[in-house]
């Protein structure tokens, strides 16, 4: 009986090679089970961006006037910003799901499995991105009858860049949730305090060129600005310096986010 007990678990003997990649896939897949089991939630989350497109878009066109949009239609200018907004809201809230799991104990249960620490974070951030691809494409198609010119490959590239950015922002949100454990208000306080200034200063809602000089300067220090400019270029069917700038901003955000996130997650756990 004692010999039997010494033998490690069956699974341990059978387990194949592990890597951050397979671990990330498992974490991602667990997160994906939620929208897959309940696909209506995905459609429902499109309502908010559609409200912005349908109710804010026309006002924007009337108030600012077409010249501010570099000759494009209001919709062509505004839609990429709305897609960035979906990504921004989704990934920055990653941590709130985690906070819930921190309270119930399911996060701890997963921490006690051999999954690598970084996969816990990347897998979660990627989960926010996968629905985004579906949402981004859906919302673009919905806009076609209203005069949006759809360049599928450019849009896809734009969504990939957003995905890279989302991994970074998701990781930061994850780290924030870990730091503000048991203090939900800190998480929401910080998230909301940062979200709106970043959003407004990136020119998502209104062209930043219309603002005073100091706002233009401030927007240069906002990684989101480069991302929004890249998406606008791509959604209008071009690839140029703005795209490159957006890619660099996305990669920098991802690297910084992952560095902070992995540091936070491994500070106390082994």
């Amino acid at each position: 009986m004692i010999e039997q007990a010494v033998a490690p678990g069956v699974a341990f003997q059978r387990r194949g090679p592990r890597s951050v990649l397979t671990d990330t896939w498992f974490v991602f897949w667990r997160e994906m089970l939620l929208p897959l089991r309940d696909p209506f939630s995905l459609i429902f989350s499109l309502i908010q961006p559609l409200v912005f497109l349908g109710l804010f878009g026309p006002l924007l066109g009337a108030a600012v006037g077409a010249p501010a949009f570099g000759g494009q239609s209001t919709l062509q200018w505004f839609l990429p910003g709305v897609v960035v907004m979906i990504a921004l809201f989704g990934t920055s809230m990653t941590g709130s799901n985690l906070q819930y799991e921190l309270m119930t104990g399911s996060y701890e249960r997963i921490l006690a499995t051999p999954l690598s620490r970084s996969s816990l974070m990347i897998g979660r951030a990627l989960k926010e991105w996968a629905p985004l691809v579906v949402q981004g494409l859906l919302i673009s198609i919905v806009c076609i009858p209203f005069g949006f010119v759809f360049h599928p490959l450019h849009v896809l590239l734009g969504l990939v860049i957003l995905g890279i950015f989302g991994i970074g922002l998701g990781a930061l949100s994850y780290a924030l949730a870990l730091v503000s454990q048991n203090k939900e208000w800190i998480f929401w306080g910080v998230q909301q305090t940062l979200l709106f200034p970043l959003m407004i200063l990136s020119g998502i809602m209104l062209p930043i060129e219309a603002g005073p000089g100091w706002m233009k300067v401030a927007s240069l220090f906002n990684p989101l600005t480069y991302l929004v400019n890249a998406e606008r270029e791509l959604f209008s069917g071009n690839i140029g310096m703005d795209t490159l700038g957006g890619l660099v901003a996305a990669v920098v955000t991802a690297v910084v986010g992952l560095a902070v996130g992995i540091r936070t997650i491994s500070r106390n756990t082994n």
Binding site: I2, A5, V10, E108, R109, T269
Partner: protein
């Protein structure tokens, strides 16, 4: 299975250093069933969390299932099962999905994970709940699911942190039945924490009493009780023969107080007596021979709470003053 050397954890809370675990040396052999018993905040869970690599020790070392917790934490996690204080299932997930994912996390392929989930759900009475979301489960069902999650990869060593806290007696008994059956079938080594003394008493073969981050006793429950806490004896005699009885009892109880209460012409003596149940017949005869017969005699075997009281001067009972 487990070997620790001066395992220590200190926390800094508001610039004050709190020593949660102070140099714990511990050895657990394969197949043992060990319970950490102690009041809330004694350091039971902190010790468990260090052994399961959820917390980094401040100093000291630990080898768990043959692997050093500091050098290869993922290796430790692959070999152990851990059932924490909270519920392991994500609220919005289906029971069967969570079980299969847990198997995948541990490196099982999909086919094996599915088969293992089926087996566990059948043996833990969860088969009918496979497609139910966790949030719709009752407390007892959730706890059984936690056990299933902890066993998905058939670990040889299982840690349970307060496994039955907050459960009603029926569910507690049910949970223990499952744990014991699994142990019989697979010879699993089990380490658990509890602040229910009756649970530590009846379920585990070895009880480690922890207080203020230190192991203060480590033995089988019956030996702890016999060595540290004797039986509680109460004898009532007529007031007239109190002095003879006082002398007899004083000789029988080498140390310890003898309480005395007089009422309605009767004197009631109360004392703790090691092996009291064996001494009682002789004592009764001696009293009879001395012309001071007992009117009544009560004997109460000790509990682990009495052991804890003897060791620390405090009671383990919840709500007791610390």
């Amino acid at each position: 299975m487990i070997h620790t050397n001066k395992l220590t954890k200190t926390f800094t809370v508001k610039k004050e250093t709190v020593e949660a675990v102070k140099g714990v040396d511990l050895d657990v052999a394969p197949g043992e069933l060990v319970a950490f018993l102690g009041p809330n905040g004694a350091g039971k869970s902190t010790t468990l969390r260090m052994l399961t690599t959820l917390l980094k020790p401040t100093s000291g070392s630990a080898t768990v299932a043959g692997v050093d917790v500091g050098k290869d934490p993922a290796g430790v996690r692959a070999r152990i099962g851990y059932i924490g204080q909270g519920n392991g299932g994500g609220h919005s997930y289906r029971v069967v999905d969570e079980l299969i994912m847990q198997g995948r996390f541990h490196g099982l392929n999909t086919t094996d994970a599915k088969a293992r989930a089926e087996t566990l759900m059948a043996s833990l009475d969860l088969a009918d709940l496979a497609k139910r979301t966790v949030i719709k489960l009752s407390g007892g069902q959730r706890r059984r699911m936690d056990v299933a999650l902890g066993l998905m990869h058939s670990p040889g060593l299982l840690f349970l942190d307060e496994p039955s806290t907050g459960m009603d007696p029926q569910n507690r008994a049910n949970l223990w039945e499952h744990i014991m059956r699994m142990r019989e079938e697979h010879g699993t080594t089990i380490v658990l924490t509890t602040h229910y003394m009756d649970e530590a008493d009846s379920m585990s073969e070895r009880v480690i009493v922890i207080d203020h981050g230190t192991i203060i006793a480590d033995d089988t429950a019956s030996k702890l009780k016999a060595n540290l806490a004797g039986d509680l004896m109460a004898v009532e005699v007529a007031a007239g023969s109190a002095s003879e009885v006082r002398g007899l009892l004083g000789r029988a109880a080498a140390e310890g107080d003898i309480q005395e209460n007089a009422y309605d012409g009767v004197v009631r003596f109360q004392l703790r007596l090691a092996q009291g149940s064996r001494l009682a017949p002789g004592l009764l005869k001696d009293m009879h021979d001395a012309g001071a017969p007992a009117q009544s005699l009560e004997l109460k075997p000790p509990t682990l709470d009495d052991v804890f009281l003897e060791l620390t001067g405090r009671s383990l009972r919840e709500g007791a003053d610390v």
